[in-house]
Point group: D2
C-alpha cells in the first residue's frame, strides 16, 4: 500500500532491460551514441515533428535548463503559485537563469486563472526598466493538484502569452495528462502553442530520465541548451544509459500503457476512498494523483495498516498511484476501510 | 581497438546487475533509500572514516558542487592550468560558485609545481579587497596528463594551501591512482590533507556515478551541499539507482580490481606502442592513459585498421584503456604495428 | 508643483557644499579617506552604537548588497508583496544573492501582517531540502504605502524572524519615519532587532548616497560586504564624495530637519487635497508621501495647471513632498483646486 | 608629491561647478533629465557617431556591465593577463556575466601579443560543447603598464577577434591614450573595430563618472544594458549628477587638455627620475603613468621626503601624475633627488 509517490515506484522491467541492451561494447560519449539517435527519432515520431532534445535525470534539471534558455536573468517566468518550479525545486529556476523571478498566479485546481494571466501580462511593461517584465509562461500538465489542462486550456493560455515570450510546459506527468484527456502529444504541446517542454519518464517507469524538447523556432536555442547542460554537469559521459531509457519508454506505446494503468488505479482507489471512507475529492481526479478529504480516523487506520501517503492541507491527503500499483494494494485499502 | 576514452566503455556487469537488484519494489525517494545507506557505509569502510556524501551522474557535477560549498563567489580556486575543471567543464565551477575565479598554476606532467603554488599563495592578500584571494586548492589524481601524485606530493601541496582554505581532490580516476601508487584511499585523501573530493566510478565500470565526499570538519557543510545539489537538479527522485552503483562498485574490492586491470592494459599497450612504433612517452605512465609520441604514419596505420584514440599536441596521442579493454584489442594493435 | 517623487528634488546646498570642501587636494582612494572616517563617526553617534558601514549611490544597491551578505543563494527573503525590493529593483536581490527567492507577504498599508509572517515562518523547514527556507526578513520604513512602522511594530516582527535569520530594514525614507514617529535612530533599528539596514540620504537632500549599516554581530560580515561591493563596481575610487555627503547629511541634525519639513509639507498638501478636492487618504499619512483618492477631474485640473504626480491604482494618486517642496507649490495646488 | 594614483586627485573645479549648475530645481529621475541628453550629445559629437550610453561611478562597473551585455555565462572574454578586469576588480566580470571566464593572454608592455591572440582564437571551438569558446575581446588603452596601443594596434587585434564576437575597450585612461597618440576618439574606438567601451572620466578630473558606450550595431543591446544597470543598483535616482560631470568633462575640450597636462607632468617626472636617479623606464612612457626602475635607496629617500607612489615588481615603482599634479610637486622630487 505505497501511495507516497510515483517516484517511489521501481523502474519498469522493459526499461531496465534496455540498459543491459545498451551496455554491449564501446559507444561514443556525451550524446553521440546510437541510443540517443534512436531516442530522438522515437520522440519525433511520438510528437509528429522535428525537435531538438536533451536528456537529464530529474524534472528539476529539465525545468530549470529549459527556463534558462528562454528567460534572461532580468526577466520573469509566470507560473501557478503552487507550481513545482516555485514550491519544490529549491530555487533551481533562479539558479539556472542567473536570478530571474518567478511571478506567481492564482487559479483553481492548480490551473492558472485565465483572467489573472491576462491582467498580469497586460501589466507587464518591458520598456519600464525598474520592473521585471513577463518573459515566459510555464504551465504544468498534470498540474500540482493532479488535474489535467485540456488542449484548449493550454492553447488559450499560450495564445495570451505568446506576444511576451516562449511558453514552457512542465510535463513531469505528461503521459498521465494524455491518458486522461485523450489528446495526442502533438496536440497537447507544440500544436497548442508550447515552445519547449520537460517531458518526464521517471515517474512513469524510467529509472531517471526526463527529456527537454525544443519545438519549431525554439530549436535554434539548442546550442545554448547544450552549453548550459554541460556547464551544469548534466552531460554525463555515458549518455547512452539515459537515451536507452527514453527509447524504451516510447517503444510500442509502453509509456501511454503505463500511464493508463496508473490513472486507472487512481480511479479505483478514489472510488474506494470516497465511498467506503465517506471522503470527497479535493480536486478533480484527472490523472494518477488522488487528493481526497478524509477523516483523520480513517487516515490513521490506513497508516496503522501500513499504507503510505502524504497529508496535504487540512483534511486533504494525497494518494499517488503509479504503473506499479497493484490491484492487491488497492484491495488492501478496501479491506482496511471495511474494517475487515 | 577503442582507446578513445574510458568513458566509451560499457558498465561492468556487476554494477548493471545491482540496478536490477535495487529495482525490487517501492523505495523512499531522494536519497532516503537503503542503497544510499549501504553505499555510504561502504564508502566509509573504504576510506576508514566518517563522511558526508552525495552522488551525481558526472564528474563535472561532482567537481562544481564540491567547489561551490568551499569557495565564495568572490574567491578563487587554485588549480593546474590543464585541470579538467579549467579546460573541459564549460565553466561549471564558475556557474556553481556564482562567479569565482580559477587561478591557474603551471607544473610538469600535470602536477602543480610546488614553488609556483607557494608563490601564488604567498601573494594572496585576503584583506586586499581589489584582488580575488586564494580560497581553495583543487588537485587531480590522476592528473590530466595521466600521471599520479604520490601521497607525499598531495600532502605537501595540501599543507601549503591549508591556511588559505579547503583542499579539493578531483578523483575522477582515483582508483587508477591508487592502483598505481599502492596507497590506500585514506592515505591519498583525508590523511594527506584533502578536505573534500570527487570520487569517480563512471570511468571505471559504473553507468554514471560520482561521489562527493566531505571529510572531517568539512562534513558540517553537508546541508549546503544537499541544498545546492537539489537546486542544480542533481537530486533525482530514484537516487537508489545511483546508490546501487556505488555500493556495487565498492563491493569486495571490485573497483580496485577494475582499475588494476585498466592500468595493466595501458602498460602493455604502451610497451607495444613504444617498442614497435619507436615512440616514446610524453608523460610518465602512472594509470590507464597512455600519452605517447608516435609518427603520424603509425597513427594513420592504426586508424586505418579501426583503432580509435585522440591526437593531443604535436606528435603526442592519447590512448586510454579501461576495465573493458581486452587483450585481443591490444594484440590487434601489436599486429597492426608489426604490419601483419 | 513637482510632486512626482522626492528623487526629482535637487540636493540640499549644504550637502553640495560638502563636496567642494572634500575636493581640497589629494586624498586616499577606495574609502580610506578622512571623510569616510568622519561619516562613520557621525553615523555611530547618530545610531548610538558601533557599526560597519559602506556607502553606495542607490537604494537598490544598498538593499541588494545588504541582502546578499545575509541570504545564501538557496535561501529566501521574506518581504511585503509591495516592497521596493520586489517591485522596483528589476530583480537586484536575485542578482546579488545569486538567485535567492523573495517570499511575498500580505499586509494592510504596506506593513507585513503579523499573523501571515508567523504562519510563513512556522511553515519554513530548513531541513526539508526541496523547499527554499526563510533566511532573512526585510522590512521597509517608510513602507511603499508611505506609512511608518512604529518601533513596537518593527520589534514584534523582528522578534518572530530572529530565530530564522537576520532582519534587514530598507530605510530609503528612514528620516521621514523617524520624524513621523518620534523614535530615535537606535530605537527604530538595532534596539528593535534590526541587524542591518539601508540608510538612505538621496531622497532627503543628498545627490546620491545610501549607507549600508551592519549592527552588532552582523558587523563580522563586513569583509564579505566590502568584497561584494567591490565586485559590483560599488567601490568607486573617489569615495570621499560619497562620504562627504553622508557626513554633511548628519551634521547638526540637518537630515531630521529636512525630513520634518518634507513631512510637514505632505501634511499641508494632504489637507488641501482632502478638503478642497473632497478626496480621502488611501493610506495613513505618516511621512512625505500622500496617497489620496481624488476624482479624475481634479487630477486632470491639477495636471493642466502644471502639477506632476503619479496615478496609482484606480482613483488613488501619489503626491510626494521633499525637503525642497515650497509653500508656494502647495499654495498653488490650493489655488487650482479652488478654481482661482 | 602625491604620485600614488590619479584616483587620489581631486575633481576639476569646472566639473564640480557643473554639479551646482545641475542642482537648480526639480529634474526627472533615472536618466530622463536634460543633463543626460546634453552628455549624450557631447559624447556623440566627440566620437563623431551615434551611441547608446549609460553612466556609472566606477570603471569596474563600466567594464563589468559592458562585458555582461556581450558575453554569455558560458563564454569567455580574452584579455591581457595583467588587465584590470582580471587583476583589480575582484571578479566583477564573472559576477556580472553570470560566471563567464577570463581567458588570459601574454604580451609585452601590457599589450596583447598578436600571435598569441591569433593562436587562442584559432583554438576556440564554439561547437565543442566542453570548452568555453572565445566570445569577446577586451583591450585596455592605456594598458595596465601605462602604454598606449596605437590605432593600428587596436585595429589589427579587433580585426582578428571580430569573427568571434564583440570587441570591448577599457578606456579608464582613454584621454591619456589619445593625448599620447594624437588619434581622435573615433579613430581609436569604433573606426578601429571597437564595438563598445568604458570611457573614463574619474581619473582625469571627474568626481566619479564613467560612460559605457555602445557603437553601431551593438547599440541594439541598449535595453539589456539598461536592465542590467538597474538590476545592479547602477541607476541612481539623481542621474543628473553623473550626467553633469560627463557634460562638463567634454565641454570645450577640457578632457583632452587635462590629459595632456597629466601626460606632460609624467614626462617631466620621468626625465627627473631617470637622469637624477639613474633609473630607467620599465615600460615605454605613453601616458600619465611612470613605471621606473630605481634604486631602493632613492625610493626610500623620496618616501622620507613625503612622496607617495607604489612599489611594483622588484625595483620597479609606479608614479602616477594627474591633471592636478603641480610643477611644484615635480620640482620637489627633483630637489630631493639632488639632495638639496
Amino acid at each position: 500500500m505505497n501511495f507516497s509517490s510515483d517516484t517511489a515506484a521501481p523502474a519498469h522491467p522493459a526499461i531496465l532491460e534496455a540498459l543491459a541492451e545498451a551496455n554491449a561494447g564501446p559507444e561514443p560519449s556525451y550524446g553521440a551514441d546510437r541510443w540517443m539517435k534512436l531516442a530522438k527519432q522515437r520522440v519525433e515520431e511520438t510528437f509528429e515533428t522535428d525537435v531538438e532534445m536533451w536528456l537529464v535525470p530529474s524534472g528539476t534539471a529539465a525545468n530549470a535548463l529549459s527556463l534558462a534558455v528562454v528567460c534572461p536573468p532580468h526577466g520573469s517566468i509566470l507560473c501557478h503559485a503552487e507550481a513545482h518550479i516555485e514550491r519544490d525545486e529549491r530555487g533551481a529556476p533562479e539558479f539556472y537563469t542567473g536570478g530571474a523571478k518567478l511571478s506567481l498566479l492564482p487559479g483553481a485546481n492548480g490551473k492558472i486563472d485565465l483572467g489573472a494571466l491576462k491582467r498580469r501580462l497586460d501589466a507587464s511593461r518591458p520598456d519600464f526598466v525598474h520592473e521585471v517584465p513577463a518573459s515566459a509562461l510555464s504551465l504544468s500538465n498534470l498540474t500540482e493538484c493532479g488535474t489535467a489542462y485540456t488542449v484548449a486550456e493550454i492553447a488559450e493560455r499560450a495564445a495570451l502569452a505568446k506576444a511576451h515570450g516562449p511558453v514552457h510546459l512542465d510535463g513531469a506527468r505528461f503521459a498521465n495528462a494524455l491518458a486522461s484527456t485523450g489528446a495526442t502529444p502533438a496536440e497537447m504541446s507544440w500544436k497548442a502553442g508550447v515552445n519547449l517542454m520537460s517531458f518526464g519518464a521517471t515517474k512513469n517507469g524510467a529509472l531517471g530520465c526526463e527529456a527537454i524538447l525544443l519545438f519549431g523556432e525554439t530549436r535554434k536555442l539548442a546550442p545554448d541548451l547544450f552549453a548550459r547542460a554541460k556547464r551544469a554537469g548534466h552531460m554525463p559521459p555515458k549518455m547512452r544509459f539515459l537515451a536507452a531509457q527514453m527509447a524504451a519508454y516510447l517503444r510500442d506505446g509502453l509509456w501511454l500503457e503505463l500511464a493508463r494503468k496508473a490513472n486507472a488505479s487512481a480511479k479505483k482507489l478514489a472510488d474506494i476512498l470516497i465511498s467506503a471512507g465517506e471522503g470527497c475529492l479535493a480536486y478533480p481526479l484527472d490523472g494518477n494523483e488522488v487528493f481526497v478529504d478524509i477523516e483523520m480516523g480513517i487516515a490513521e487506520r490506513l497508516r496503522a495498516a501500513g499504507a503510505s501517503f502524504y497529508p496535504w492541507v487540512g483534511k486533504t491527503h494525497r494518494f499517488v498511484c503509479s504503473w506499479a500499483t497493484s490491484d492487491a494494494e488497492i484491495s488492501a485499502v478496501s479491506r482496511v476501510l471495511a474494517g475487515r
